[in-house]
Symmetry: C2
């Protein structure tokens, strides 16, 4: 497995060393339409309350609501477009927690912020560092709809310089 080298990644502006614990970023917003919500659910999460207004109204959500996986995918889109695309991101091993705290409805305006809460070198890979990040997504009423706490792997500008 050959890793991406700086030569192959002329657009990288942010490396692991540049990530600052405590820093919060506004990663912008987007708004899923009714059609997008139904299309995602039809493909991946065809539960009635994600497919029609009628079934949504009859559910605990009180209306047609987006699949939680759709909400995660929308958060990822903002994360990639407004941050990761200019970083040395190498993907993620996973999340410590994921909470769908409120339903997402058609036309909601969803804004994502990210906060780096921890970073450390990766023990097995002197050229890679981990960053633990909170993802928080809010709707237009200021209500949190998504809370995630997860890890990202980032290539280091200077591999292993702080290792013994």
């Amino acid at each position: 497995m050959t890793a991406t080298t700086p030569e192959h990644s002329p657009n990288i502006k942010i490396w692991w060393e540049d990530l600052v614990v405590g820093q919060t970023r506004d990663l912008g917003s987007l708004s899923p339409t009714r059609e997008e919500i139904i299309a995602f659910a039809t493909q991946f999460d065809p539960q009635p309350f994600h497919l029609s207004e009628e079934a949504g109204r009859a559910s605990v959500f009180g209306g047609l609501s987006a699949s939680g996986w759709h909400t995660c995918a929308l958060a990822m889109r903002l994360m990639v477009t407004n941050f990761l695309h200019e970083t040395s991101s190498l993907g993620s091993p996973g999340l410590e927690s994921l909470k769908w705290t409120r339903p997402v409805y058609p036309g909601d305006v969803l804004r994502l912020t990210s906060t780096i809460v921890e970073k450390r070198p990766m023990s097995r890979r002197p050229d890679v560092g981990l960053a633990r990040t909170l993802w928080e997504m809010y709707n237009q009423h200021g209500e949190k709809v998504l809370h995630m706490d997860g890890y990202g792997m980032f290539r280091r500008r200077e591999p292993g310089v702080d290792r013994p």
Copy 2:
């Protein structure tokens, strides 16, 4: 918010009371194509290693690989089609953990199993119970690609009969 009643849900065969701690279900398999992997990533996770073989080969994944969110969405599809559709499922408040343990490549055959590890009444809702479930997805080589540990809410057949 009006909840789904049995009158509106003639297809429910499995209620919260019917979920058995320790029970493992085989939820079937599916296989994402190259085109599906690229389409999902284009919409939601446009990182280079999810968009082309060339960038995939140059990444830590060693080839074009699916977005982790795509893997989750595929697991959800199996969960809904082969289990939740005949249950009293009311959605999920979230996950305790999510691990992407191996890359997913085009043509991989992904098989999902679920195991119920805990269940309890929901304190605020005598008509609803929680079930904590492990989701484990394996590829055709027997390698685990996804591990999730999360909660589902299920309507009870007999609301609150075991509450004081």
